[in-house]
Amino acid sequence: MSANWDLAVIGAGPAGMSAAMAATRLGLKVGLLDEQPRPGGQIYRNPAQPTPEVLEALGEDYAHGMELIEKFRAADIDYRPGATVWDVMAGGEIAFLRDGRSAEVQARHVLLATGAIERPVPVPGWTLPGVMTVGAAQILLKTGGYVPDQPAVLVGGGPLLYLVAWQYLKAGAQIGAILETVPRSNLWSALPHASGMLSQGRLLAKGRRWLRDLRSARVRRIRGVTDVRIEGEGAAEAVTFQKGGRRQTIQTPLVLLHEGVIPNTHISLALGLEHGWNDIQQWWQPRLDDWGRADKPGFSVAGDGAGIWGAEAAEHLGLLAAHGAAMALGKDGLDQAGVAEARGALKSVAGARAFLDRLYRPARSQRVPAADDTIVCRCEEVTAGQVRQAARMGALGLTQAKAYTRCGMGPCQGRLCAPTVSALIAETRGLDDAEVPAYRPRPPFKPVTLGALAAPAFRAKAG
């Protein structure tokens, strides 16, 4: 199973697929590892048996993804689906699980294209069955054509929330209400960047169409919602919230939460690549040069894992990262026209992003629970109060908070609680978010059983 590649790409989303194809064109021997059974990443999550009814509901962006996937499949790439990367070493060795067994590859350069994850939304009751993320519900739609069978309530903000509401509308599913938690004052910080949004005609038209269609279908949108709680005995039964000084309740067995996405930095942080705090997107992102290369030689990052830029940008960033890797490996014959096109497109995406990120910057109350009894770490059932206590006792970051509370010690390794724990520590100690050090995950990134380990060299690490 062991292979030697010039470039190993981790992640088969738009960034990884585009990078792998470009690197092949530049003459590199390319391999790609992805956890999912089929290529496409989160946006173009690719069902085994797409039906026309589902494709119709998803809209035209998805059709573009299907074309990209076809080209990717036709390219000369050692593509390994169903491969979960559990360790990446400084020398370019990568260990992954596939069909219940661990295997390894060796690469001269490694490109992380592991995309984004949804920001945690730690509101009271968010652990109840019947509460999921908007993205999770969209995965059910994309892969199996599932839509709510009773009016669901969508809570939060951001483009993905409106997209999914619109996709439900097209699929004929009912929406109970959209509860909008994004502070209305965001508009004032976003407005100075409106010209960047206006220059992105297609994106703007898309967003306007979603909102117009939701309006004409009379979907209930309640703005300026605060203090969201989900209630129920053993499963979600209702969502309650504060609006205009009054507490309101909507009965529903399905609550879908979304406060935007953040870069999936699990592997880049574990590798110790240098990261910087993005105060508008409210999470860390690796510091990269113009070609997607990190501070440690041999490593690059592209796509949403490098900062939230969206799917279109992910393809361009992938192309640039392929060139960066090729240059690092001493290749010439770069595709100058392709590079110039990618840079031009990225510039205009950046303008739109500046507007969108400010407009949908989540309310602090949706990120940092006010009530001490709200669960923050879902794995170990650690509450906000326990983390505040740990911070008062001296925890400076997730690593120390672990010692006091076990938060981050469960199987998710802090992927989901780290943003909340950091924000709670910052709040309690009176620091800026950026002053709380990022968490430092350790391999194995996903639980590995001893039985899965064929290569003895890895045994010590997984133990």
Binding site: T51, E53, M132, T143, G145, V147, L254, E381
Partner: protein, 99 residues
């Protein structure tokens, strides 16, 4: 909580059991989708307080979809593709993961 959009196109199916109950769904779907198709919001109870949990992220991040598959605990339902005859059962209480 969910229903599947009807389709006129032919779909290959697979039959699994969820808590002993047979459920038939398209090939290529996950064990988490099988829970959803079976109308089952809860896939496990937590080791510490015994609280019920179900799939939250559907993309392998949260580990709240852990279930027993064919008798083996701690399987991430949202990352496990279904096979004919697969037995999906609720996971109850404490279990060490990995190791």
């Amino acid at each position: 909580m969910f229903r599947r959009l009807e389709t006129a196109s032919p779909v290959e199916t697979v039959t699994v059991t969820v808590g002993g109950k047979p459920v038939t769904l398209p090939r290529g779907e996950t064990a988490a989708a099988a829970l959803v198709a079976a109308g089952e919001a809860t896939g496990r109870t937590t080791p510490i307080t015994g609280a019920p949990r179900g799939p939250y992220c559907m993309m392998g991040v949260c580990f709240d979809c852990l279930v027993m598959i064919d008798g083996a605990p701690n399987r991430q339902a949202c990352m496990t593709e279904i096979r004919d005859g697969m037995r999906i059962e609720r996971q109850v209480g404490a279990r060490r993961i990995g190791g």
